[in-house]
Symmetry: D3
Subunit: 287 residues, 6 copies
């Protein structure tokens, strides 16, 4: 962007965000971070800028992350061979340790650090801290792949109250002291639900829900939960979109006001989503 923009012009633009700031000020917004926005260094920095700005102007932002490629990277480096049952990865104890190290050790702390560099104050948490996310085995054959049974959200709200930005690694615990690998989107939906969030933002690598998946001009900008049900039945929501939309619907059932599937490949997609008149992607809301 050109440096010579006049300050008057800048002021004007900032002011146009006023109604949006007013809407989200003091509200909880949960961002599930993932996809390209997590692998591209520029996008990464921009997401952290957005989050710091939003916290500063009063939005109670919570960042939830999974791991993705970095887990596979460390597994490769350690010579772990992937094993599958019905297309799902078998997660033995050693794999869970790797997941935990990558998520709660490497990625969590690097996000906390990036937020710090942008001027924010973040504290990392995981589903294991204060046994915040409880899970049970999904399927014996899959090992430590967990299904969430309960979320105790106090550690998150305690951090929000103290004005920290909570950054949450999506692993889970059980009463026996096991650690589980869990689905990050689902975890974000449960956390948003438990917090009574104003909005859940799922960052993805697609433009949103398209009526015709090959034609970006067929984007559905907004749908209700029952419209989503119809689109499931019609097969419009298919493939990788199914779990994403399921997640949004689950969040709304648990009390989130609305949920949005955003295109994380676009710079500052979160800020645009919350502070301008047109969000990117598809918004799902109650009736």
């Amino acid at each position: 962007m050109e440096k010579e923009l006049s300050n008057a012009f800048r002021a004007e633009i900032i002011l146009q965000a006023l109604p949006y700031i007013k809407r989200y000020s003091g509200k909880v917004v949960v961002v599930k971070y993932g996809g390209n926005a997590m692998t591209d260094e520029d996008l990464k920095r921009q997401v952290m800028q957005d989050i710091v700005l939003l916290r500063l102007i009063g939005v109670k932002i919570v960042l939830v992350h999974g791991g993705g490629p970095e887990i596979s990277g460390l597994m490769d480096a350690l010579g772990k061979k992937p094993e599958f049952v019905n297309g799902l990865r078998v997660t033995d104890k050693e794999t869970v340790d790797i997941v935990e190290m990558v998520l709660a050790g490497k990625i969590n702390k690097s996000l906390v650090t990036l937020i710090g560099q942008q001027g924010g104050t973040a504290v990392g948490l995981s589903g294991v801290d204060a046994c915040m996310i409880e899970a049970r085995r999904k399927n014996e054959a899959l090992g430590f792949v967990g299904e969430i049974t309960k979320v105790n959200v106090s550690p998150v709200s305690d951090l929000i109250e103290k004005e920290y930005i909570p950054v949450i690694s999506t692993i889970a615990c059980d009463k026996e002291g096991n650690v589980y690998n869990i689905n990050g989107d689902t975890a974000a939906a449960f956390i948003a639900g438990a917090l009574g969030a104003e909005r859940l933002i799922l960052m993805t690598d697609i433009a949103g829900i398209l009526r015709n998946k090959d034609d970006p001009s067929t984007l559905i900008p907004e749908m209700t939960v029952s419209e989503a049900d119809a689109l499931f039945n019609d097969g419009v929501i298919s493939g990788g979109m199914i779990p994403k939309v399921d997640c949004c619907v689950e969040a709304i059932k648990q009390g989130v006001k609305n949920a949005v599937i955003t295109d994380g490949r676009i710079p500052h997609s979160i800020l645009m989503e919350l502070l301008t008149d047109e969000g990117a992607g598809t918004l799902i809301k109650g009736e």
Copy 2:
């Protein structure tokens, strides 16, 4: 501004304000409102927008106003003839009543209303409420022209604590139940001092302090209190600028971090002053 600005572009501009937002978040800023910014309807609305936005993003903004032309207007309408002693207006009981009605009645409530229309929540106060500003007669011959002797700032800080925007009419009281007409800039300086404000902004109808008053390119963007003293002696600060600079120096002596003489004729001058890299006008600070 053209409607077709992309949201990405908007997001980028908002983000560039982040370091400034960070600096003023949670801090008290006192704005002395006056001049063209108070008579021009467009400027007026813009000032209120700025104030609402700043409060929303966490700046504890306090608006202090005088009256100016509207007082003379009502006096004319009521057939009051002005009387002067050594060039200063004699203020009899009837005149003070007019001042009180115009300031605390008409202007104060119209500012409170304008802020409400922009989405903010303002509560009007005057120096008479809770006998917040105490004064004594400046000169027997002048009648109810007051000199501030004491500021009890609790009503202002009580309103700030409850997140209202205080809008303050600059009249004063004494123990005998008299009301005084006082200088608005001085009142703003005393209030800013008592609140330990981060910044006092005096809105004026000039570009700032010019080294050569006929050459706008000689604007002095920043000076310390002792540099101001030197400029007084050199005659660079002269005429109408003297009381403005005096006011800023007084505020700094009472504990305000810095004070700025801003050109209120420029739209959104307050927002630019606080949220961009170049303020308009002249900033005065401690050593």
Copy 3:
């Protein structure tokens, strides 16, 4: 009163107020101030003394005032000719400005000042501050004559919490930024209702509700809401008493414990009403 009253005697009299003090301590009492009590300087000072004393001994007193003769005075002085539609005064923009100046400027601040002189700490508010009293046009032909649609009582309770005496001017706002002239008694009833007041006191220039309006000995000291209904039907409550009693009934419907029509011409009528065994006037209560 004779100076030589013994202190023992004084102590005895103060002690007889103990059960009444106990009853109102910590409770909200809304006083609608008006009539002679507002025009006679001695009565005025006495009302303010009563209010200061009551606040000091723990009664959460709220003073609501209208304007009356002073509005007409300023209109005359400004050469405004009254215009009527069906006997109701047409209120154009200029008239509303005058109302605002007289109420929120002159009268409000003079009451705040008088309370200060008696040793109390008052803060003025109007229905326009924080858009506390919302109204809509009652009748297009009447201009800015408003009908209350909603009361947001937070600014009043915030001031009570900080132990100030709120003094409220009865004007109203709407979302478009208009200001309305409203009925003061109704405003007091709505405010008392929103605060869940223990008692609403309407100060009037009559002795109370008389069974025979020409015979003071036929005063009805107390009636229930349903008895009031019967007296409306019987024509006992007639003329100027109708809106007063309506107001009391409205307040009780909105949650006020009881409401009283007091003779404000009697010195210290408020104090007598609250701290002695016989109130002046007529008390209306729920069933």
Copy 4:
């Protein structure tokens, strides 16, 4: 007092107390109760009325009592023979038990009950509760006669904070679990000092300090601590007055604003002392 006093008259008298109420509202006043005011049933009831009223109008009143004749009464009934050393009563373990039973059991609870009957809420304490008053033996030969070494005033301020009226029996404890009989006036002075009281009131059976003890017209209404010193030297303060004045001086040294020796034989002497222009007795204050 005649029943037919008009309410207007009553209101007027109550209002004349306003400046006094204002002065003591929110302040701590410690009353050392004793003498006739404690043995005469009418006076007793009147003292409790005064205390309830003062608490209700915001004075943080603390009642401290000793025992006097009732202790001797129970000793007689139990056939205990008094024994003296240098004119001071020897207090053995059995005697201390009697003191404790009479003070903390009988008198304390009867005062708490009387306050309750007058509409107040009192909680009894003794110097033994939370080991509030620590003492050591004054003289081996005297047994359990104690000299105060330390006051831990938290239980009293905890009760004040909850708006109870603390009623305190003047016995003391030590680290070994002994209970001591202590001087009630001194205990009251220490408690008032530890609370930073506004005033200590010692109720006695004399009119105050008289310059000529046989001439009531020679009452000294007020003296400073240094004037008291001079009067000790001159022998004006003599006999039973010496410990009373000593006590007042001690209280002032410990931070009490002023102390007064009041004539408890006069009905409502406390109320008169605090709420009217002329106190009964002698007031002692710092320089």
Copy 5:
């Protein structure tokens, strides 16, 4: 116990109490103190140790006591002859004074002192303070023997909040200023109910409820309220056990989680009851 116990062994034993500490931490436990535990000096000291320890580790302990033999002792000493109506002691005014002196004076203060010596901080209360326990005459012929009508538990919870150990004497008041002798166990049950206690512990001089009262091996360790009903009908609960069990049942009806009849003759029976796997005595609980 031998001194040479290793610290490792001590640590191990303390740790075995962890689950019990966890269970009672932050909960209210009301102990009705009586029987041998109150007359034997060693047992007495041990009970106080238990109470101090429990408070320190976070149990909100409340000690309720009656008087027993000491009341008779003082009556004898004063030459009062007991009088009976249908086997119940007639309690005249003089007797109630004795009860009050012994309970609220002697015993209460000695317990407060003992707790202090063990390192705890106790404050004594009685049912008369703040008229906490209200009662009415049970039977005209019996004089001041009271039946509890209402418990106002605020003074107790205020003391708990400030981390004192409340020690409560079981006497009661009424609105007329009378004091009543009441049943200590019932008072404890009412207080526990009003506090929503986790457990009520009644200390007695028996091993618990025995199926065969002559065979200690037939102890019933636990029963529900309905099982207790059955045992009443079967005559298993008989004699002195009837009021004890009634009390427990009453407490549970008023909201106490469970109640236990403990053998107070065993040293540290309270600690064992709460911190080990086997309580002494019989526990009664809801269905």
Copy 6:
């Protein structure tokens, strides 16, 4: 331990801990966890039991851990070859990533989980969260080996306030977003200092400071800071003990009351240290 220990015996032993519980209740104790206590599974579980018990009885416990053998394990598995400069390990970016994963990912979460299994509620933190521990490079050649420059302890005290057990991984951050490997003992000393801890406990694999390192009977149970200085000079404190003692001295300089070098090989050494009469190891205290 034999199961048949009587409950009376257990109660007795618990009670003997009362004075120690009293001493540490409400105080902060920082435990630096390491050595055998961290590698032996039984010792590990016992340490967590101790910590849970201490938190439960009111000690504000903070657990600080390093990594030790597990870091080397992962480095080996990833084929990283150690490189040394003057005997100190060179820490490149990749190594710091490994340290972060092992400490903040694996070990931290396993400790949090273990505490949860023992009934406690822990939340993990690292020096990177909220940039709590700031460091700079110790030596360019060593890469990311850091020297602590500042500790911002708010996240720890925020967690303590909410009654969580903070578990802290000793890595550090700087303003440029680098992560550093830091000395765990030093980090614990700085954290204890910033918290104004009552005690710092360093768990080691030695018995304490021995006057003759080959003779356990020459253990020095206690020394002052200046005695420690003398022992440094005498060479009694030598080898691996030097940094441990330095650490303790540093902690005391920063305001910790005392610091102890404990033998972590002994089961329940922390509990014994705090709750019994003889600590294990050497205690260092101010003069």
